[in-house]
Protein backbone atom coordinates (compact mmCIF):
# COMPACT_ATOMS: atom_id res chain seq x y z
CA UNK A 1 0.00 0.00 0.00
CA UNK A 2 2.97 2.22 0.40
CA UNK A 3 4.15 1.96 -3.15
CA UNK A 4 1.22 3.68 -4.80
CA UNK A 5 0.75 4.23 -8.46
CA UNK A 6 2.61 7.20 -9.87
CA UNK A 7 0.74 10.39 -10.62
CA UNK A 8 -1.26 9.55 -13.67
CA UNK A 9 -1.42 13.04 -15.09
CA UNK A 10 2.19 13.98 -14.55
CA UNK A 11 4.12 12.54 -17.42
CA UNK A 12 7.53 13.99 -16.88
CA UNK A 13 9.30 12.91 -13.74
CA UNK A 14 11.92 15.56 -14.07
CA UNK A 15 11.83 18.57 -11.77
CA UNK A 16 13.33 21.61 -13.49
CA UNK A 17 16.51 23.05 -11.98
CA UNK A 18 16.24 20.92 -8.85
CA UNK A 19 19.97 20.76 -8.20
CA UNK A 20 20.37 24.48 -8.70
CA UNK A 21 17.48 25.28 -6.36
CA UNK A 22 18.90 22.96 -3.73
CA UNK A 23 22.35 24.53 -3.97
CA UNK A 24 20.87 28.03 -3.65
CA UNK A 25 18.82 27.08 -0.59
CA UNK A 26 21.73 25.24 1.00
CA UNK A 27 23.91 28.33 0.49
CA UNK A 28 21.18 30.51 2.02
CA UNK A 29 20.97 28.14 5.02
CA UNK A 30 24.70 28.33 5.57
CA UNK A 31 24.60 32.15 5.43
CA UNK A 32 21.71 32.18 7.93
CA UNK A 33 23.57 29.76 10.21
CA UNK A 34 26.71 31.85 10.21
CA UNK A 35 24.90 35.14 10.76
CA UNK A 36 22.74 33.62 13.49
CA UNK A 37 25.69 32.00 15.26
CA UNK A 38 28.06 34.96 15.09
CA UNK A 39 25.72 37.80 15.92
CA UNK A 40 22.09 38.26 16.76
CA UNK A 41 20.84 40.26 13.81
CA UNK A 42 18.10 37.82 12.93
CA UNK A 43 15.76 38.63 15.81
CA UNK A 44 13.21 40.29 13.53
CA UNK A 45 13.12 37.25 11.24
CA UNK A 46 12.83 34.89 14.20
CA UNK A 47 9.97 36.93 15.64
CA UNK A 48 8.12 36.95 12.32
CA UNK A 49 8.31 33.19 11.99
CA UNK A 50 7.60 32.86 15.71
CA UNK A 51 4.24 34.54 15.14
CA UNK A 52 3.24 31.64 12.86
CA UNK A 53 4.39 29.10 15.43
CA UNK A 54 2.35 30.68 18.26
CA UNK A 55 -1.05 29.27 17.17
CA UNK A 56 0.56 25.81 16.96
CA UNK A 57 1.78 26.12 20.53
CA UNK A 58 -1.67 27.17 21.71
CA UNK A 59 -3.20 24.17 19.91
CA UNK A 60 -0.66 21.80 21.44
CA UNK A 61 -1.28 23.27 24.88
CA UNK A 62 -5.08 23.14 24.52
CA UNK A 63 -5.63 19.49 25.61
CA UNK A 64 -3.49 20.00 28.71
CA UNK A 65 -5.35 23.17 29.66
CA UNK A 66 -8.69 21.51 28.97
CA UNK A 67 -7.76 18.52 31.12
CA UNK A 68 -6.74 20.78 33.99
CA UNK A 69 -9.93 22.79 33.64
CA UNK A 70 -12.00 19.61 33.75
CA UNK A 71 -10.04 18.44 36.78
CA UNK A 72 -10.72 21.70 38.57
CA UNK A 73 -14.36 21.82 37.56
CA UNK A 74 -15.12 18.30 38.74
CA UNK A 75 -13.11 18.10 41.94
CA UNK A 76 -15.44 17.31 44.78
CA UNK A 77 -16.49 19.64 47.55
CA UNK A 78 -14.57 17.79 50.25
CA UNK A 79 -11.40 17.95 48.16
CA UNK A 80 -11.88 21.68 47.77
CA UNK A 81 -12.45 22.11 51.48
CA UNK A 82 -9.35 20.13 52.28
CA UNK A 83 -7.30 22.19 49.88
CA UNK A 84 -8.83 25.37 51.24
CA UNK A 85 -7.86 24.58 54.81
CA UNK A 86 -4.38 23.54 53.72
CA UNK A 87 -3.95 26.81 51.84
CA UNK A 88 -5.21 28.74 54.84
CA UNK A 89 -2.60 27.24 57.13
CA UNK A 90 0.02 27.83 54.49
CA UNK A 91 -1.03 31.46 54.20
CA UNK A 92 -0.79 31.91 57.96
CA UNK A 93 2.69 30.44 57.98
CA UNK A 94 3.78 32.62 55.09
CA UNK A 95 2.35 35.70 56.75
CA UNK A 96 4.24 34.95 59.92
CA UNK A 97 7.41 34.63 57.90
CA UNK A 98 6.61 37.83 56.01
CA UNK A 99 6.24 39.78 59.22
CA UNK A 100 9.74 38.85 60.15
CA UNK A 101 10.82 39.80 56.66
CA UNK A 102 9.15 43.19 56.94
CA UNK A 103 11.00 43.88 60.16
CA UNK A 104 14.26 42.82 58.55
CA UNK A 105 13.62 44.99 55.52
CA UNK A 106 12.94 48.00 57.70
CA UNK A 107 16.12 47.35 59.59
CA UNK A 108 18.02 46.93 56.35
CA UNK A 109 16.77 50.24 54.97
CA UNK A 110 17.69 51.97 58.24
CA UNK A 111 21.18 50.52 58.20
CA UNK A 112 21.68 51.39 54.54
CA UNK A 113 20.52 54.92 55.20
CA UNK A 114 23.08 55.10 57.99
CA UNK A 115 25.76 53.91 55.59
CA UNK A 116 24.50 56.39 53.02
CA UNK A 117 24.44 53.60 50.47
CA UNK A 118 22.14 53.35 47.52
CA UNK A 119 18.76 52.07 48.55
CA UNK A 120 17.95 48.48 47.78
CA UNK A 121 16.16 47.87 44.57
CA UNK A 122 12.48 47.48 44.43
CA UNK A 123 11.44 44.57 42.32
CA UNK A 124 8.15 43.67 40.75
CA UNK A 125 7.11 40.17 39.84
CA UNK A 126 4.47 38.80 37.57
CA UNK A 127 3.32 35.21 37.23
CA UNK A 128 3.63 33.59 33.81
CA UNK A 129 2.61 30.11 32.80
CA UNK A 130 4.88 27.70 30.96
CA UNK A 131 3.20 26.75 27.70
CA UNK A 132 5.66 24.24 26.37
CA UNK A 133 9.12 22.91 26.94
CA UNK A 134 11.78 22.45 24.33
CA UNK A 135 11.38 19.47 22.06
CA UNK A 136 15.12 19.40 21.65
CA UNK A 137 16.64 17.25 24.40
CA UNK A 138 19.95 19.15 24.25
CA UNK A 139 18.43 22.50 25.11
CA UNK A 140 16.49 23.38 28.22
CA UNK A 141 14.21 26.02 26.82
CA UNK A 142 10.65 26.77 27.91
CA UNK A 143 8.01 28.98 26.34
CA UNK A 144 5.98 31.21 28.65
CA UNK A 145 2.69 32.93 27.89
CA UNK A 146 3.84 36.53 28.43
CA UNK A 147 5.58 38.52 25.72
CA UNK A 148 6.72 42.00 24.81
CA UNK A 149 3.09 43.15 25.13
CA UNK A 150 3.48 42.57 28.87
CA UNK A 151 6.86 44.34 28.91
CA UNK A 152 8.86 41.13 28.98
CA UNK A 153 12.39 41.81 27.75
CA UNK A 154 15.38 39.76 26.65
CA UNK A 155 17.58 38.83 29.60
CA UNK A 156 14.79 39.05 32.17
CA UNK A 157 15.13 36.79 35.21
CA UNK A 158 12.64 33.96 35.82
CA UNK A 159 12.22 32.62 39.36
CA UNK A 160 9.80 30.29 41.10
CA UNK A 161 8.81 29.95 44.72
CA UNK A 162 12.07 28.15 45.59
CA UNK A 163 14.72 29.88 43.52
CA UNK A 164 16.05 30.99 40.17
CA UNK A 165 14.63 29.14 37.14
CA UNK A 166 16.37 30.87 34.23
CA UNK A 167 16.20 33.89 32.00
CA UNK A 168 14.27 35.08 28.95
CA UNK A 169 16.31 34.76 25.79
CA UNK A 170 13.76 35.76 23.24
CA UNK A 171 10.67 37.87 23.89
CA UNK A 172 8.08 37.61 21.16
CA UNK A 173 4.83 39.60 21.06
CA UNK A 174 2.61 37.15 22.97
CA UNK A 175 5.09 34.60 24.26
CA UNK A 176 8.72 34.40 25.23
CA UNK A 177 11.39 31.74 25.26
CA UNK A 178 13.32 31.23 28.45
CA UNK A 179 16.60 29.40 28.98
CA UNK A 180 16.73 27.30 32.15
CA UNK A 181 19.80 27.47 34.39
CA UNK A 182 20.36 23.76 33.70
CA UNK A 183 20.94 24.32 29.96
CA UNK A 184 24.55 23.50 29.03
CA UNK A 185 24.86 26.96 27.49
CA UNK A 186 23.80 28.80 30.62
CA UNK A 187 26.22 30.24 33.16
CA UNK A 188 25.13 32.21 36.19
CA UNK A 189 27.23 34.34 38.55
CA UNK A 190 26.54 33.13 42.09
CA UNK A 191 28.01 33.53 45.54
CA UNK A 192 28.16 31.21 48.51
CA UNK A 193 25.66 32.60 50.99
CA UNK A 194 27.79 31.61 53.99
CA UNK A 195 30.92 33.58 53.10
CA UNK A 196 30.25 35.56 49.93
CA UNK A 197 32.67 33.52 47.79
CA UNK A 198 31.93 34.38 44.15
CA UNK A 199 31.87 31.83 41.35
CA UNK A 200 29.94 30.74 38.27
CA UNK A 201 27.29 28.01 38.16
CA UNK A 202 27.15 26.29 34.78
CA UNK A 203 24.27 24.14 33.51
CA UNK A 204 24.94 20.49 32.74
CA UNK A 205 21.93 19.44 30.69
CA UNK A 206 20.49 17.61 33.70
CA UNK A 207 17.62 19.18 35.58
CA UNK A 208 19.00 18.27 39.00
CA UNK A 209 22.64 19.29 38.62
CA UNK A 210 24.73 22.42 38.15
CA UNK A 211 28.52 22.49 37.96
CA UNK A 212 30.82 24.99 39.66
CA UNK A 213 33.92 24.46 37.52
CA UNK A 214 35.97 27.48 38.63
CA UNK A 215 36.56 26.81 42.31
CA UNK A 216 40.20 26.20 43.26
CA UNK A 217 41.07 23.31 45.57
CA UNK A 218 41.50 25.60 48.56
CA UNK A 219 38.16 27.39 48.11
CA UNK A 220 36.00 27.53 51.21
CA UNK A 221 32.98 25.60 49.99
CA UNK A 222 31.24 22.72 51.73
CA UNK A 223 28.38 20.36 51.11
CA UNK A 224 25.08 22.00 51.99
CA UNK A 225 26.22 25.54 51.20
CA UNK A 226 23.47 27.67 49.73
CA UNK A 227 24.36 29.49 46.51
CA UNK A 228 22.54 32.75 45.80
CA UNK A 229 22.68 35.08 42.80
CA UNK A 230 25.40 37.67 43.18
CA UNK A 231 23.83 40.12 40.77
CA UNK A 232 27.21 40.79 39.21
CA UNK A 233 26.27 39.61 35.72
CA UNK A 234 23.65 42.33 35.59
CA UNK A 235 20.90 40.00 34.45
CA UNK A 236 19.71 38.66 37.78
CA UNK A 237 18.78 40.64 40.87
CA UNK A 238 21.07 39.67 43.76
CA UNK A 239 20.04 37.44 46.64
CA UNK A 240 17.78 34.85 45.01
CA UNK A 241 18.63 31.26 46.00
CA UNK A 242 20.01 29.22 43.10
CA UNK A 243 21.20 25.85 44.36
CA UNK A 244 22.62 23.87 47.26
CA UNK A 245 26.07 22.36 46.97
CA UNK A 246 25.68 18.59 47.14
CA UNK A 247 29.17 17.30 46.51
CA UNK A 248 32.70 18.68 46.73
CA UNK A 249 35.52 16.51 45.37
CA UNK A 250 39.05 17.82 45.67
CA UNK A 251 41.50 16.17 43.29
CA UNK A 252 45.03 16.97 44.50
CA UNK A 253 46.77 17.07 41.12
CA UNK A 254 44.08 19.23 39.46
CA UNK A 255 43.91 22.96 40.03
CA UNK A 256 40.13 23.09 40.33
CA UNK A 257 37.90 20.99 42.54
CA UNK A 258 34.83 19.23 41.18
CA UNK A 259 31.79 20.84 42.80
CA UNK A 260 28.20 20.04 41.89
CA UNK A 261 25.04 21.64 43.17
CA UNK A 262 21.33 20.83 43.11
CA UNK A 263 19.08 23.66 41.84
CA UNK A 264 16.68 25.06 44.43
CA UNK A 265 13.90 25.45 41.88
CA UNK A 266 12.24 22.26 40.67
CA UNK A 267 13.21 22.86 37.06
CA UNK A 268 11.44 19.84 35.62
CA UNK A 269 8.24 20.33 37.58
CA UNK A 270 7.44 24.02 37.44
CA UNK A 271 4.32 25.07 35.61
CA UNK A 272 4.12 28.68 36.78
CA UNK A 273 7.13 30.95 36.98
CA UNK A 274 7.57 34.54 38.09
CA UNK A 275 9.14 37.18 35.87
CA UNK A 276 11.12 39.77 37.81
CA UNK A 277 11.38 43.45 36.95
CA UNK A 278 13.98 45.32 38.94
CA UNK A 279 14.49 49.03 38.57
CA UNK A 280 18.11 48.54 37.75
CA UNK A 281 17.73 45.65 35.39
CA UNK A 282 15.52 47.58 33.02
CA UNK A 283 17.93 50.39 32.50
CA UNK A 284 20.81 48.07 31.85
CA UNK A 285 21.40 46.63 28.44
CA UNK A 286 20.22 43.05 28.14
CA UNK A 287 23.43 42.26 26.23
CA UNK A 288 25.17 41.81 29.54
CA UNK A 289 23.45 38.53 30.16
CA UNK A 290 25.42 35.43 30.77
CA UNK A 291 23.51 33.20 28.44
CA UNK A 292 25.86 33.22 25.49
CA UNK A 293 29.14 31.38 25.74
CA UNK A 294 29.56 29.72 29.07
CA UNK A 295 31.29 31.59 31.80
CA UNK A 296 33.14 34.46 30.28
CA UNK A 297 33.11 36.69 33.29
Amino acid sequence: MVAGKPDSHRHSSKIPALGLRFLLLAGLSVVLLIVDHRENHLDALRKTIGATVYPLRVLVDAPVSAWRWIGEATSSRSDLRLENSRLNTERLLTQARLQRYAALEAENIRLRAMLDATSGMTSQVRVAEIMSVSANPFRHVVVVDKGTRDNVFDGQAMVDANGVVGQIIEAELLSAQGLLISDPDHALPVEVNRNGLRTIAVGTGQFDRLDLPFLPNNADVEEGDLLVTSGLGGAFPPGYPVATVDSVTRVPQESFSVVTARPAAKLDQVREIMLVWTNEAESQSPQETTAQGSADE
Binding site: M1, V2, A3, G4, P6, D7, H9, R10, S13, I15, L18, G19, R21, F22, L25, A26, L28, S29, V30, V31, L32, L33, V35, D36, H37, L42, L45, R46, I49, G50, T52, V53, L56, R57, L59, V60, V64, S132, V133, S134, A135, N136, P137, F138, R139, V141, E170, Q177, P184, D185, G205, D268
Partner: protein, 161 residues
Amino acid sequence: MSDSRGDRRWPVILCFVAALMLAIAPMPDWAVPFRPDWVTLTLIYWVMILPHTYSVGSAWLIGLILDVAQGTLLGQHALALSLVAYVTVKFHLQLRVFPVSQMTATVFALLALYQFILFWINGVAGINAAAVTYWGPVISGAIIWPVLAMFYGSVRYRVRG
Protein backbone atom coordinates in the same frame (compact mmCIF):
# COMPACT_ATOMS: atom_id res chain seq x y z
CA MET B 1 -1.58 20.40 -14.47
CA SER B 2 -3.23 22.48 -11.84
CA ASP B 3 -6.89 21.45 -11.94
CA SER B 4 -6.75 19.12 -8.93
CA ARG B 5 -4.03 20.94 -7.10
CA GLY B 6 -6.36 23.03 -4.98
CA ASP B 7 -8.26 20.05 -3.59
CA ARG B 8 -5.21 18.11 -2.60
CA ARG B 9 -3.26 20.95 -1.09
CA TRP B 10 -5.24 21.35 2.12
CA PRO B 11 -5.05 17.77 3.44
CA VAL B 12 -1.29 17.75 2.86
CA ILE B 13 -0.83 21.09 4.61
CA LEU B 14 -2.88 19.72 7.51
CA CYS B 15 -0.52 16.72 7.65
CA PHE B 16 2.43 19.10 7.96
CA VAL B 17 0.69 21.19 10.64
CA ALA B 18 -0.05 18.01 12.61
CA ALA B 19 3.58 16.90 12.23
CA LEU B 20 4.83 20.28 13.49
CA MET B 21 2.46 20.05 16.46
CA LEU B 22 3.73 16.56 17.30
CA ALA B 23 7.28 17.91 17.03
CA ILE B 24 6.69 20.48 19.77
CA ALA B 25 4.16 18.57 21.91
CA PRO B 26 5.33 17.94 25.48
CA MET B 27 6.40 14.36 26.24
CA PRO B 28 7.53 12.55 29.37
CA ASP B 29 11.26 12.92 30.00
CA TRP B 30 12.19 9.32 29.24
CA ALA B 31 10.48 9.45 25.84
CA VAL B 32 12.02 12.67 24.58
CA PRO B 33 15.19 11.09 23.11
CA PHE B 34 12.97 8.73 21.09
CA ARG B 35 10.62 11.33 19.64
CA PRO B 36 10.36 10.43 15.94
CA ASP B 37 11.17 13.17 13.42
CA TRP B 38 7.51 13.60 12.49
CA VAL B 39 8.18 16.50 10.15
CA THR B 40 10.94 14.64 8.28
CA LEU B 41 8.81 11.51 7.87
CA THR B 42 5.86 13.55 6.59
CA LEU B 43 8.13 15.42 4.21
CA ILE B 44 9.68 12.23 2.81
CA TYR B 45 6.23 10.80 2.10
CA TRP B 46 4.71 13.79 0.38
CA VAL B 47 7.84 14.67 -1.58
CA MET B 48 7.91 11.09 -2.83
CA ILE B 49 4.26 11.22 -3.91
CA LEU B 50 4.01 14.81 -5.16
CA PRO B 51 7.55 15.89 -6.09
CA HIS B 52 6.24 18.62 -8.40
CA THR B 53 4.34 20.35 -5.62
CA TYR B 54 6.58 19.69 -2.62
CA SER B 55 10.32 19.63 -3.04
CA VAL B 56 13.35 21.48 -1.72
CA GLY B 57 11.62 24.88 -1.44
CA SER B 58 8.78 23.68 0.80
CA ALA B 59 11.27 21.61 2.80
CA TRP B 60 13.40 24.68 3.40
CA LEU B 61 10.45 26.80 4.59
CA ILE B 62 9.19 24.05 6.91
CA GLY B 63 12.71 23.62 8.23
CA LEU B 64 12.90 27.32 9.04
CA ILE B 65 9.63 27.11 11.01
CA LEU B 66 11.02 24.07 12.84
CA ASP B 67 14.18 26.03 13.67
CA VAL B 68 12.15 28.77 15.33
CA ALA B 69 9.81 26.31 17.07
CA GLN B 70 12.68 24.33 18.59
CA GLY B 71 14.93 27.31 19.22
CA THR B 72 17.87 25.94 17.24
CA LEU B 73 20.23 27.91 15.02
CA LEU B 74 18.30 29.47 12.17
CA GLY B 75 18.91 27.40 9.03
CA GLN B 76 19.92 24.15 10.73
CA HIS B 77 16.73 22.15 10.17
CA ALA B 78 16.17 24.06 6.93
CA LEU B 79 19.44 22.77 5.49
CA ALA B 80 18.91 19.21 6.73
CA LEU B 81 15.32 19.01 5.49
CA SER B 82 16.09 20.43 2.05
CA LEU B 83 18.90 17.90 1.63
CA VAL B 84 16.50 15.08 2.58
CA ALA B 85 13.95 16.48 0.11
CA TYR B 86 16.59 16.67 -2.62
CA VAL B 87 17.63 13.03 -2.18
CA THR B 88 13.98 11.94 -1.99
CA VAL B 89 13.08 13.75 -5.24
CA LYS B 90 16.10 12.18 -6.95
CA PHE B 91 14.93 8.70 -6.03
CA HIS B 92 11.16 9.19 -5.84
CA LEU B 93 10.35 6.85 -8.74
CA GLN B 94 12.37 4.01 -7.22
CA LEU B 95 10.98 4.71 -3.74
CA ARG B 96 7.38 4.45 -4.95
CA VAL B 97 7.81 0.89 -6.18
CA PHE B 98 9.91 -0.39 -3.28
CA PRO B 99 8.30 -3.02 -1.02
CA VAL B 100 7.66 -1.88 2.55
CA SER B 101 10.81 -3.46 4.01
CA GLN B 102 13.13 -1.89 1.45
CA MET B 103 11.39 1.44 1.78
CA THR B 104 11.75 1.40 5.56
CA ALA B 105 15.46 0.77 5.15
CA THR B 106 15.71 3.77 2.80
CA VAL B 107 13.79 5.95 5.23
CA PHE B 108 16.17 4.82 7.97
CA ALA B 109 19.10 5.99 5.85
CA LEU B 110 17.39 9.32 5.09
CA LEU B 111 16.67 9.90 8.80
CA ALA B 112 20.28 9.07 9.65
CA LEU B 113 21.43 11.58 7.02
CA TYR B 114 19.10 14.20 8.54
CA GLN B 115 20.38 13.62 12.08
CA PHE B 116 23.95 13.64 10.80
CA ILE B 117 23.49 17.14 9.36
CA LEU B 118 22.01 18.33 12.68
CA PHE B 119 24.89 16.68 14.56
CA TRP B 120 27.45 18.22 12.26
CA ILE B 121 26.06 21.77 12.54
CA ASN B 122 25.78 21.39 16.33
CA GLY B 123 29.40 20.26 16.42
CA VAL B 124 30.62 23.21 14.33
CA ALA B 125 28.60 25.61 16.49
CA GLY B 126 30.06 24.09 19.66
CA ILE B 127 26.86 22.57 21.05
CA ASN B 128 27.95 19.23 22.44
CA ALA B 129 25.84 16.20 23.10
CA ALA B 130 26.51 12.49 23.23
CA ALA B 131 26.47 11.08 19.69
CA VAL B 132 24.37 8.15 20.89
CA THR B 133 21.38 10.39 21.56
CA TYR B 134 21.07 11.18 17.87
CA TRP B 135 20.14 7.56 17.09
CA GLY B 136 16.88 7.59 19.09
CA PRO B 137 14.76 9.49 16.54
CA VAL B 138 16.26 7.51 13.64
CA ILE B 139 15.26 4.16 15.13
CA SER B 140 11.81 5.24 16.32
CA GLY B 141 11.17 6.99 13.00
CA ALA B 142 11.99 3.85 11.00
CA ILE B 143 9.77 1.77 13.29
CA ILE B 144 6.83 4.12 12.88
CA TRP B 145 7.28 4.65 9.13
CA PRO B 146 5.17 1.70 7.79
CA VAL B 147 2.19 2.73 9.92
CA LEU B 148 2.56 6.40 9.05
CA ALA B 149 2.92 5.64 5.34
CA MET B 150 -0.24 3.52 5.47
CA PHE B 151 -2.08 6.39 7.16
CA TYR B 152 -0.88 8.97 4.65
CA GLY B 153 -1.77 6.54 1.86
CA SER B 154 -5.36 6.52 3.08
CA VAL B 155 -5.34 10.32 3.26
CA ARG B 156 -4.09 10.38 -0.31
CA TYR B 157 -6.75 8.05 -1.74
CA ARG B 158 -9.50 9.85 0.12
CA VAL B 159 -8.35 13.13 -1.39
CA ARG B 160 -8.42 11.64 -4.86
CA GLY B 161 -11.51 9.55 -4.76
